[in-house]
Amino acid sequence: MTYAGFLPPLVLVLLYATAAVMYLHWFLRRDNGGAGRSIFLGATVLLHLGWTVHAGVSLGRHPVATVPEFASFTALCLAGIYLASEIIHRNRHGGVFAIPAVTLLQLIAVLSAGSDPSLRPGLEQSRFGLHTGVLCGAWASFVLSFIYAVMLILFHRALRRRQFGRIFEQLPPLAVLCRMMNRTAFVGFILLGIGIGAGLVEMASVRGITLDVRLMSAGLGWLIYGFLLLSHLLPEWTERRTAIFNTIAFVSLILVAVGHAFCDSWHRW
């Protein structure tokens, strides 16, 4: 079974799009409620998780071996990590930006399903599943951390410029944004480390470890995020600088990912 011709991914796109509209509506109305949105999103995430497990069982392998599966699993991780962040920090403002990103990823999963290539040998192995699955989680965490970083920069700018308008009133408090940004970056850092480790073990068992562009950029990304997490120990360092650093690191990772999509030789396995 592949994504092609299979209905649930499209249903999931619609459900996530509905959740995105609900979050946007709540954000614009500026009321205190909104628990219904979170429950709806939680139900969608559970449905997505159930479908992913079902797909894995039906395929007889891990469900993160192809591009559509990777996109869908990243969407699931992003929605799940966002929901956890929302519950922990009791703040659902990030959903206005995170859920559209989830919808977009799920849409990419559906649209790329038609060009689903046959699996290369070895990709169905569970070690590879651990490598890609954990990296999906890392990507999702970095996306969320990037969203929080951008929100933090906007909030900081409004505060410094004495602009007490919509951005100042609508975004989460500055200290909460800092916590959310740093915690999601920390989760991403841990997952990226596990993902790289699992990939290296996989590579070593197949053909020995060789450095390529993707591996180096992942390692560099891991170091950047590591520095970012420890940066508050530096004297005179501000949370705004952490946020700027976070956005630069994320954009760099995106550029490498895009480069890899066009240049297969950037990552050999």
Binding site: L159, P173, P235
Partner: protein
Amino acid sequence: MSDSSIDVIGVNYTSAPLRVLETVAFGRDAVVPILSELKQIPRVQEVVLLSTCNRTEIYCRAERDSFAPFAIRRWLLDRGAAGGLEERHVYHHMDQDAIRHLFAVVCGLDSMILGETEIVGQVQQALNDAVDAGCAQSGFISLFNAAFRTGHRARAETEIDRGTTSVASAAVHMARRVAGELSDVPALVIGAGDTGTLVTKYLKDQGARVCVVNRTMERARGLAACMGGRAAALDGLEEELAGADVVIACTSSPRPLVSNEMVERVQKRRHGRILCMVDIGVPRNVEPGAADVSNVFCSTMSDIEEVVKRNLAKREAQKPLVAAIIAQETDRFQRARRTLDVGPLILRLRDSFEELRKEELARFAHRIAQGDPQAAEDLTRSLTNKLLHFPTLAIRELAQERDAVEKARWLEQLFGLDKNISQRRERK
């Protein structure tokens, strides 16, 4: 239709100067005797006295076209005469306007601070006092309940009460926007004056762990003891700054109490943790350069005033929406009131018909018991004749009047005659 009218006679901050308003401001202990006195006025059915720092209003329900409202107006003028209260200071709204006025008061449209919510509690208290004194019954209870419903709708469906509008609450709001929820957050209040007291209260309401620092230690101790916080001497300010995540300075000290160097030293001790400072002291209590220290966010009085101004402007923009809700609810209340007014008439009509039916049944009971086949025919004919006796006389008299045709049409509508005729024709 209604045989009673609703009036409001009052004075508020827009109609009279404060010194005049003060002469007719009544404390809670004076309310019940005044209500009893007003209830003694002939034709007064219900009366409620609302007296706050911004208004004194008397709501009364009296027999329609009676002089009771004017007697109440006279009473109010007499009470305030010594303080300079004149005819021009007193407003008097009747029926629809009085209802609309009450709804506007509860919605906060008529308040000095637009959309304030404190007025709801004050109106509720006024009603409770009147009910306890036996001066308000079902009529006013339903009117005031409609007012509370209107107030609830206005606050739920519009943003009339959104955003802080006082300097002290805006300062705490600013701290919340930077530091997040203040529950269990260490907060430092510099100054124990009126503003300091309010700030401490708002911080405590948010669950912050408050420490009060003041030049006079006694005053700091008093405020801290009253609010459940901690007090510290001004000498230990730097020490207290290092332990706080939120600092609100509100003294009238002629020179800044918090210097740039002090904030720099404090931030080093805090390992650069975010420090939110709100300086609402006049002149400034915190040196301007403190805002440049890393991870220190310092808001000033001008920022707070800007926030308050914005919030008030936002509330102002909500006025038409609230006015629309008030118009809807006034209309709804009036319709309900009119329905209630005809209730007794319907009851009397039914009772009268029922009495006739029983009389006729008793008169024909003997013939029915004997099984007389003509009894049912005679009973129903007699009943019809008796039911239509007075309406028939009235219609004959009505035929002599100028607007006879119009009234005849109304009667047709009342008895559904057009409908009956058409139904009979359909049956044939």
